[in-house]
Subunit: 252 residues, 2 copies
């Protein structure tokens, strides 16, 4: 492993339900947290409608500039589930019924009314794709090289990520430490900037809040190097204390 | 107003905190719901890092193919707040201190420690931009033609949307009606597809769930025409009832 190589992933969230405001997306945060542990950085996300051209454009663009692309949504049994067709078309691949997926669905639906035509749609994959296990609802996810096609329902997508844990090559995981402080971030912006500037390989994020009638902020320091991270956090705590602002490890 | 014209908007969510999984985005759903009422469709969303080039690419691309572009995040006082600089650079504009924004911040911070250099950053706008009122925390949002630069904190962004309510030209609002049903969507996929196919101007979304040990789904019918919407909903309820599945108006 090359420790300086940064591995990146992108996510395409597919679904009119997100763009209409009906459903609050939870897959961005879920995937981001999972990727951190794999040593892969979530570099960009797009949310697109249930539209062949929009899905194809997003997936091909993001595939060309990231190590991995994940999609969520649009792999169910209904007419608005077009993710497989859109991705296959985008890469000039046929769509075929995956024999193992068909077998999984036959078994799953044996006691649930049988495998009808709509349900069989969930066994369709771009030619050459592999399956991603789904222990919850039968219908598997799909892996097409570095593209991972997952369910939109967050707990099913989460199961698919579990099945992928440890199977993707990544770099060093991003570590982070949070310092909380009851101060307006605008009072200490210079300290944040200077501390980041003098600590290579560390980024400092500032997340202000207003709570119990007081302003405060959590400062999150991120690095792939624990030693550098610890040094940056210590320097930040010292600088803030020097300006009269005590910090709370772990955040407030 | 041309009732057949569809007005679209895009959203660029800016911030490492979303891509790191630290913060769950709430602005996509909030903006989508607000846009529906304005008769504007949220067509696409991108989430990008605190990176000048990434912000510029997203804003210019989405601006070229939508009526409006909204951004959230990156307009605070700290070093990672670069949205204004990125958008100004993308359009070849200078960044200048807006006199009214400066006056607002001077008043706001008069009793809060005074207007320092970091806080003055929040008065910076791309040349020629107007302000969007922010009743909560002083620092205004920014309107640059059809681009709306808003705060990342959801309740502040919500206040800025309130200030914009009724000021953007749009088309007919999208209306929707939900029917709930304790049925696996895969059992009734044919009914959904046929009902949508035979009702022009209506879209049917299917949102399955697993709850209390049973599967079910909510079917959401959307249209800009109330008469067509009602006819489609009635036809869907009839077709489902004919197949032995009673529906619950409003959803389950």
């Amino acid at each position: 492993m090359n420790p300086t190589r940064i591995w990146t992933a992108a996510l395409v969230v597919i679904g009119d339900e997100i763009l209409s405001g009906r459903t609050q997306d939870k897959n961005i945060a879920q995937l981001a947290a999972w990727l951190n542990v794999q040593g892969i950085r979530l570099a960009e996300v797009r949310v697109v409608a249930d539209d062949m051209a929009a899905i194809a454009e997003a997936v091909t663009t993001l595939d060309s500039r990231n190590d991995y692309v994940f999609t969520t949504g649009g792999i169910g049994p209904t007419h608005d589930d077009i993710t497989v067709d859109a991705i296959a078309a985008a890469f000039g691949l046929a769509v075929e019924v995956h024999p193992q997926a068909r077998a999984i669905l036959e078994e799953y639906y044996a006691t649930r009314g049988g495998l009808n035509e709509a349900r069989l749609r969930m066994a369709r994959v771009p030619a050459g794709a592999e399956l991603i296990e789904n222990r919850i609802s039968g219908a598997p996810g799909i892996r097409l090289g570095t593209i991972f096609i997952m369910a939109g329902v967050p707990h099913i997508a989460g199961q698919m990520l579990d099945a992928l844990t440890g199977t993707l090559e990544g770099g060093l995981p991003v570590r982070s430490t949070t310092l909380g402080c009851w101060v307006a971030e605008s009072e200490v912006a210079d300290i944040l900037r200077e501390t980041e500037r003098t600590h290579d390989g560390c980024q400092i994020g500032s997340y202000p809040f207003f709570r119990e009638g007081r302003v405060g902020a959590n400062f999150v320091v991120r690095s792939t190097d624990q030693t550098r991270l610890d040094a940056c956090v210590a320097a930040l705590a010292d600088a803030l204390a020097g300006a009269g602002h005590q910090t709370v490890p772990g955040g407030v």
